[in-house]
Symmetry: C6
Subunit: 214 residues, 6 copies
């Protein structure tokens, strides 16, 4: 039979689009986090019928990257001179929970650096403000959904390793797992060194300076 | 008998007015998205008793166009110096759902470019922040409503092709269908190259510059 | 017996006051839309216990006039340098619905132009953002209320003509009906060319200019 | 027995304090509207557990005075450079309704002009944005409360005259009634020409001017 | 047995901390109002699970002091250049009602003037915007709580005198009562002339001035 | 058996991360308060599904430190030029109550000073705006959770000493208790003199100065 979502065969030549894994009452599913920057004044728009916890998750990811912009080669002026919109399709499906934390961090980081995201990669894990990755639930269903969608590599919290060890090895033989403790490891794995083919050429207003009259 | 809505026989010499297709409990219907720019400070007003999902849909369409303004020949200064109002008549009928996504994108794009919209054209489809078009429901009822209203061409998501293939061919023989995957294709079809007869002559305040005293 | 509302015999020498027609569970009634400008920063206050739909109706009317200010000889600087308050007495009666759309447009337009409103005139009709006038309900009851209050002329949507044709001709022999499709026609009928006797003398702050030092 | 509220015997040497008449489920009562200006940026604070209708009533009164500041000798700069607080004691009693409209207008006008309010005067009446005074209910109970509190003069809407005519003349022989149609008449009666003994000496920041370099 | 709250034996060498008296369903209690200023832009934070009426009470106290800053030797620039936080411990106990009005006024006044508050003093009374003190309930229970906590002097509204006269004289022999009509009397009693040992040294940004070029 | 939370064995070389003790319906638990500063305009973000009381607790802690910045060697310009985000993992667990007050104060203080937090230390206690530490409940369960997580030292309010005295001495022999009355004592104990290895190098925009033309 046909693969459920053809989405994964699309190009990865678009900054800010990252694949996450979701648990739903009817099984696991993949989801996409889309982050997009446009010239603006530093605001943030969240859409996709996100619940409170998921909104906080997005703001936490953003604060982490803002505080660590130097380490990731992000020009801090972007935060004040561009508008960030984070959307999670499909637009009518309510979504909540903290497990998209590392996916959101990766999506925003890709938008801010304009670096490509590794193809055929998915991830799931909560992230705290200091970058610590926390384990999440529904791992088995999520792995199933990932396989169905053609995913090859998966990033999980180290503390979720035990959930993988309970799955029949043959079933996941063609999947590569990355276990992490910190979101820094996530970004090292997920963000490729090269930029997308049409990266944003960030522009900033001239910094205001005082008149100097001599 | 008389055609239900005479609205479609009106001129298309007005930027920002695009025909969408809606599903309602009592059958399909056409609806109009109206986008209007006036001098202002970059705010957005949404009216027509729009629900959460539809409001997010409008903001997502706007962010897409804002981030891709260069590609569509849109002066980015419009976003900060004009106010955008999006209205969906009739004003007292509550409306919701993501399926007006591509209609909203086209409506805003027409307002921003002041280009005419192709006449006798209707469309329905969700759009994500990266411009991907997603399939929507109620296709059969929507096609019925479009015919009744004198529509000649319809834009749908590629994944909705199968819904059209289930309709008796003779019934839709006089309709042209455009199947798309990306909102960029939608705009290529829907926006005519010529501008409306009285396009807005966009004006911007002088950019602030620093005194240079020598 | 005495005429129900003596309000109509008042002078029309006040900008921004326009008579509308309302449907209520106990019959039709006339209502007044009052628009008032005062020096400010461009904000809008709505009062009179207006519901969501009626508030959106006011904002839509305002956006229409803002976008078309040139056509009506309105100085666009008013929108940023004056505060607009729209009130609908009586203050304790909740009101909702889109049918005051053309009345609100006329009221705001009269305030912005300081032109007199035609006396003994009432109107009812929804208006969309592109200025299209839509039909409304309760026509019969509204006409009754208008007669009772001494109204001589009534503006209605063309599509409401059929509702008037169902009323016994003798009953409405002393009323003149204007059927319109666009709010532009409404304003042509409702706004007299002369200004009120004490029109606001609009003042604006000096436009900011850059120092030019040579 | 003792008079219920000794409040009325207090001095009227305080700008912004005006006596209103309220209807409550347990009979009429007097209430005080207190308006106070302090240096600020033009904001408004409303307190005293005011309901929606009463809050709108305050904003309508304020807009009226703002638009007509010239006629009352009010420096329009006060509106942007002072903060207006309107409080209605007692602070824990919920209050609502439009009937304090003329009382609020008088209170704000007294604060803005620093003129004394006529002593032993009370009033009740709705006011619209164009200054029209509308009749209100509970007149009988309100008059009773006014007498009990030592009030000598009362301002009412002309249309409330009939409510007074239903009261036994002997009972109200010691009260003077002023019937009005417009808030302008209210202010003429209620505001004395002299200022309070310690009027605010309004100060304004220097108006910003452009550099003029020659 | 031990005194319930040792809090009162603490130093009064801290500006902004004032003791109030509260009525609760299980008896009277003392409470503390804490006001603290820090450099900022004039905002106000209220905390301690305060209800609507108590929040309005705080804003009314603030407006009173702001309008009368000259009389109390308060530099009006503090209001725009410092942030005021008012907290009422314990943080998890919901509190409401207007009876902390004079306590809040005293607390804010002490913070603004950095003057010490008289030790072993408690107070309870509503205050209106013009500074009038209104009587409050639960006096008996409040006096009991005050005695238990070691309070020596109590400020009450003149109209609450009758409540004290109903208490057995011997029981309150060691308490001094101050009956007041106006918050000005409260501040005269409660604020000592000397400042706290480490008063805030208020600093203000240079006032902006226009360039004068000759 | 394995220790419940390995989190405590992590480095303390991260500013702003402090261990608190929480009471839950199923027993005590440790929690982490994470404070993070990034360049911004002085705003505050709170996340972790915090309830009203806990949010107020965070704002109270912040106001205390802002008002006392001099005493702790905090550059007051940080408050206006950096954004503070406070997060309490796990992100999906609702949390409320005032008992994290001293933990929040310590966390924010560590972020503001970039000083290390003492390792193997936990704390619980409400804090008021004047810095007074108040006792909290659930002490027994919290101590149990602290032991299980490898905590060595615990800070409590002096008034909670009696709760500790009710625990079998042998059980808590390996724990050191610090009893305090003021948050100043908490910070003296919890903040080590040395800074984290990669402290933020705070930068501030040039202070605006007036042109001086001679
Ligand atoms: Ca799917
Ligand atoms: Ca929630
Ligand atoms: Ca239709
Ligand atoms: Ca919804
Ligand atoms: Ca009427
Ligand atoms: Ca509604
Ligand atoms: Ca009374
Ligand atoms: Ca209400
Ligand atoms: Ca107590
Ligand atoms: Ca309440
Ligand atoms: Ca735990
Ligand atoms: Ca709560």
């Amino acid at each position: 039979t046909e693969v459920f979502d053809k989405d994964l065969y699309e190009t990865n030549d678009l900054a800010g689009v990252v694949t996450g894994l979701a648990w739903t009452p009817v099984g696991g599913d993949i989801l996409f986090i889309e982050s997009l920057l446009s010239r603006g004044k530093g605001g943030v728009t969240l859409s996709g019928q996100l619940g409170d916890v998921m909104k906080e998750s997005a703001l936490t990811a953003l604060s982490y990257l803002r505080a660590h912009s130097d380490e990731y080669g992000i020009d801090y002026r972007i935060f004040d001179n561009y508008h960030l919109h984070i959307h999670v399709p499909a637009g009518a499906v309510p979504k909540d929970g903290p497990s998209a934390g590392i996916t959101m961090t990766t999506s925003i980081a890709s938008a801010l650096t304009q670096r490509k995201v590794k193809p055929h990669l998915a991830m799931t894990g909560e992230v705290t403000l200091r970058g610590k990755v926390l384990p999440v639930g529904g791992i088995k269903e999520k792995i199933l959904a990932a396989k169905r969608a053609g995913i090859k590599e998966i990033i999980l919290c180290n503390k979720n390793k035990k959930d993988i060890e309970e799955i029949t090895p043959a079933y996941i033989a063609d999947l590569t797992f990355h276990y992490v403790d910190h979101v820094d490891e996530v970004l090292k794995i997920a963000l490729l060194p090269e930029k997308v083919s049409k990266p944003i050429d960030f522009v900033f207003p001239e910094e205001k300076k005082e008149n100097v009259l001599v």
